[in-house]
């Protein structure tokens, strides 16, 4: 049975939300432009009603889509392609925004909530700000409209049926066919961070609209100054949320992906970082403006740019223009024209409005002195913008290519070959500049200084900085000059801001947000420097030989990976590593060795092959065990020279969405450093094994022989009444051999059978992938008391592993929290200002 009604309802909600947003545009425009206050009030009332209607329709869409996904209505394309029955509730929620349509919906949803807050809290600015909101909402809801007029498609609806989306032959036979199960959520996204990272990030994106809408409102109403006050707390909130959202993505990448870090300079990551940098710059100019009426023009330009950058990022990520250059852009839904229109509309309106009003914007002609706080803040904001610009230039390379190609040209520009090196050589010096400016700027901010006083007040923090830096440099044995400069700069901003912090916290703790945020910045810089600059590959293997048919290639390639064969200890720096085999994680927690389990048609269910003792329960042969079948874990025992022992379980995931095996690290965390381990290569566990040609060998009881280089002994051969739980029939006769293989840490038992049924000999082989042995009892020779075994071998189980040490990475995470806390303090302060204004009836 196909549930068509719910989809129709959902589609109806989409149309209502779109139309209501359009009407809201008109209402809010009238509310601003009507000549009489009475009329204005009336139109605002209308606007409130239509926006409320729009909001309710958006909630309606969300609830409808969620109902479809959580009730597993796989007749709908969205549910079928993004979820499956086996998903736990929290991942059902994340499958909601895995697709483009769902993530637009998430954005719409946040905008509705934010719009409601604006309508409730700010009366004076409501019409002009809500006008921008209504326009944005109209654009966003048009993205999920799913209306086709001739060849022209507007939006892509999340409510299309599978049979409309896919041209599969089954629908010709049975149009009402509903698949049993969905194709599931990308397993990489089945991670708790992916449940909260997208909503936080989109809340960050959504909030950038508020300062933008205030600025546009200010320009439009010619209230060039008034918009800054209400926009500032929102800008701070936006920066905090967007910053946390970005870092969450970085943390997820660090834990889940194998590129050995938290930042890969991928276009999608860059596209989120650039607006954040400009946003932070705009906060600084707005604060300057609040304090001394300078930098108003700069504030307007920056605030407008932030939102435009967000739109540009949206265009890049969702239009398909990034193509091959990013691992995680969305699939192209053919919305590029619509997205471009969205971007260009706002770009043109902003530019036109700013140009028309430019002459009227008040500005100070006063020359800025080098010893003024404005100078230092302005430098900082400029530097932030330059950082953003430097990132944006190469990130946009695919955009240049498509522009050139759309004009018929040919462009083969590719992103820099070594992205990390390319960005680092610029961004590192920017970081140094930021640290120095944020340390010094704070002094100028809190005390008006004359030339003569500067030396005096800076001397003490500089001395402390040099002492601490010297200590760090000596302890870490640093020799790299740029790194040393960065350490000094970062320590300087921490010390200088700590001094400021102690000074102001005594008088008014509410003002300490800036100092705290800058301390966080310094800590982040140190964390980034040490964890990336001093990341050390400990699985270094300098004896590696270069394999190539041509002899000419120089052979000084250092190998950064080591091969580990099962149960064969290898020394790696201060550690001895032993690979212990492939494991599955069970639903009840803990890991179970894969070779103790037998596959079933469902990859998530395994049958226990032998008794397994676990901490809290014993598994009995024949039990069914629920595991996460797509995830293969490779247990590696670490033994440190000091005697410390621990095990890590790096993972390889069979991921159809990403087209293959995806490796994820396991991390041993300590306070001062992380030990990061991932497998670089493993034998594909889903592939059939290629066994060698069978080789026969005669063995007798108790005699030692070698199987695939393992010492082996035939322990006994016994007559049995059943084979693997199945009783023998009538005249059947069967024997079972018990063959013990001595691995280096674990003994393996193989049990091949020899069966005589109806005068025919049958053989049931036994195999073990770990030791790479498969054998049969080929023949029994009573005269010589020997057994002929037929042996096939293969490569014994191995992994190729890479291990790195990431010193002081915790400073980055802690620094992020400190930075966010600083933002929180600043929001609190600015909100109380707003509250006072509101009580006086000024806003």
């Amino acid at each position: 049975m196909i549930h068509t009604t719910i989809g129709d309802i959902g589609h109806l909600f989409v149309i209502i939300s779109f139309v209501a947003a359009l009407i809201s545009i008109f209402n809010f425009y009238k509310a601003e432009k009507s000549p009489l206050p009475e009329l204005q009030k009336g139109w605002l009332k209308n606007g409130q009603i239509t926006f409320l209607l729009h909001g309710l329709a958006v909630f309606g869409i969300v609830i409808t889509l969620f109902t479809i996904i959580s009730n597993h209505y796989y007749e709908y394309f969205y549910a079928w392609s993004h979820s499956s029955r086996a998903l736990p509730v929290e991942y059902i929620i994340s499958s909601f925004w895995e697709g483009q349509e769902g993530s637009f919906l998430l954005w719409l949803f946040w905008n509705v909530l934010l719009g409601f807050i604006i309508l409730l809290t700010n009366k004076k600015w409501a019409p002009s700000v809500m006008l921008s909101f209504a326009v944005v909402q109209a654009f966003l809801s048009s993205m999920i409209l799913g209306v086709v007029i001739g060849d022209f498609k507007i939006g892509s609806s999340p409510f299309i049926l599978l049979r409309e989306a896919m041209d599969a032959p089954i629908f010709n036979i049975n149009p009402d066919y509903v698949p049993e199960d969905g194709t599931g959520l990308n397993p990489l996204l089945q991670n708790y961070w992916m449940v909260i990272h997208p909503p936080v990030l989109f809340l960050g994106y959504a909030t950038t609209l508020i300062p933008f809408a205030y600025a546009i409102g200010g320009l439009w109403k010619k209230d060039f100054k008034g918009w800054v006050r209400p926009a500032l707390p929102w800008a701070l909130f936006s920066a905090a949320i967007l910053g946390v959202g970005i870092l969450m993505g970085g943390y997820w990448a660090y834990e889940t992906l194998n590129f050995e870090g938290f930042w890969n300079w991928d276009p999608v990551e860059n596209a989120s970082l650039v607006p954040w940098l400009v946003l932070v710059a705009s906060i600084h100019t707005m604060i300057t403006y609040k304090k001394s009426e300078t930098a108003l023009k700069a504030s307007i330009i920056l605030v407008l740019s932030v939102f435009l950058m967000v739109l540009y990022a949206t265009f890049m990520v969702r239009s398909g223009v990034l193509g091959e250059s990013s691992v995680h852009s969305f699939t192209d839904l053919g919305l590029s024209g619509q997205l471009l229109l969205y971007l260009l509309s706002f770009l043109i309106v902003s530019i036109v409005l700013a140009v028309v009003r430019w002459k009227h914007i008040p500005s100070t002609e006063k020359e800025v002195s080098t010893y003024s706080r404005e100078f230092w803040i302005f430098m900082g904001a400029t530097l932030l913008c330059l950082m953003g610009f430097q990132i944006l230039l190469p990130t946009s390379i695919p955009v240049y290519n498509s522009i050139i190609q759309s004009f018929g040209g040919i462009s083969n520009l590719a992103p820099p070959a070594d992205q990390v090196e390319f960005y680092t050589k610029w961004q590192m010096w920017f970081a140094v500049g930021l640290a120095i400016l944020s340390g010094t700027g704070q002094f100028f901010w809190w005390q008006k200084m004359k030339k003569s006083e500067v030396k005096e007040s800076l001397l003490f923090p500089i001395l402390i900085t040099l002492m601490i830096s010297a200590l760090i440099i000596v302890l870490a044995g640093m020799t790299n000059i740029p790194y040393i400069i960065l350490v000094i700069a970062a320590v300087y901003t921490i010390v200088a801001n700590a001094k400021i912090f102690f000074k102001i916290v005594k008088s008014n703790y509410k003002l300490s947000g800036g100092a705290i945020a800058h301390i966080g910045l310094g800590m982040m810089l140190l964390g980034i420097l040490f964890s990336t600059g001093y990341s050390r590959t400990i699985s270094l293997n300098e004896t590696g030989l270069l394999l190539t048919n041509s002899e000419e290639v120089e052979d000084n390639f250092n190998q950064e990976n080591i091969p580990l064969f099962i149960n064969d200890p290898q020394t790696m720096g201060e550690y001895t590593l032993t690979y212990r085999g492939r494991f599955y994680e069970t639903h009840s927690g803990g890991y179970v060795k894969a070779s103790y389990l037998e596959d079933t048609p469902n990859e998530n269910f395994k049958i226990v092959k032998r008794e397994i003792q676990r901490e809290d329960e014993n598994l009995i042969k024949g039990d069914t065990l629920e595991v996460y079948g797509a995830n293969h874990y490779y247990k590696v025992d670490y033994l440190h020279a000091s005697g410390d022992k621990f095990s890590l379980f790096p993972r390889a995931q069979i991921n159809a969405d990403m087209g293959g095996l995806i490796s994820s690290p396991d991390i041993k965390r300590t306070l001062t450093k992380d030990l990061y381990t991932h497998v670089s290569s493993v034998p594909d566990p889903t592939q059939e094994i290629e066994w060698s040609e069978a080789k026969e060998m005669d063995v007798t009881f108790g005699e030692n022989f070698f199987l695939n280089d393992f010492v082996t002994v035939l322990e006994d051969v016994k007559r049995v009444e059943e084979i693997e739980g199945e009783k023998l029939k009538g005249n059947d006769l069967a024997v079972r051999a018990t063959i013990k293989v001595y691995g280096d840490g674990e003994d393996y038992i193989l049990n091949p059978y020899y069966l005589i049924r109806d005068n025919m000999a049958g053989r049931i082989s036994d195999e073990n992938r770990e030791i790479g042995v498969k054998l049969n009892i080929e023949n029994i020779k009573p005269e010589s008391n020997t057994f002929t075994l037929s042996v096939r071998t293969t490569q014994k189980d191995y992994i190729i592993l890479k291990a790195l040490e990431k010193p002081l990475i915790n400073l980055l995470w802690i620094g992020t929290l400190v930075l966010t806390f600083g933002f929180g303090m600043a929001i609190f302060r600015r909100y109380s200002e707003f509250y006072k204004m509101k009580r006086k009836g000024l806003e």
Partner: protein, 133 residues
Amino acid sequence: MKKSYIFGIIVIAAAIMMIVSTAGDASSYVTFNDAHDMALDGNNTKIHVVGELKKSVEGEIIGLNPSDDKLSFTFIMVDENGMEQEVFYNEPMPADFKRSEQVVVIGSFQKGTFVADKILMKCPSKYQEETVI
């Protein structure tokens, strides 16, 4: 001159430097032939080459050669112009390498062999391969 002009000039200079640096460090998509010519001219910039693994008529991959210690491997890649070239990669072979439909190698020629610093693989995605049943 006003300080703000000096400041403006510095900012513009920095921006121009960034543009020049981006243009200079940007890589390009080329064929093996061009890459070879570049190497002969002594130009060692890293470039992108797009192509496929060499396959026999039956679809078997030919010329894939892991080293004895499995830490590196070579393979034969056919670029978009159909030119074959041996590529060396100093990393273990990714488990799904054989399944890839398209490969992009980033690197340069070093005395006759193309040494890849990075390999990007495009594997068959579920949208192209899977149908409902």
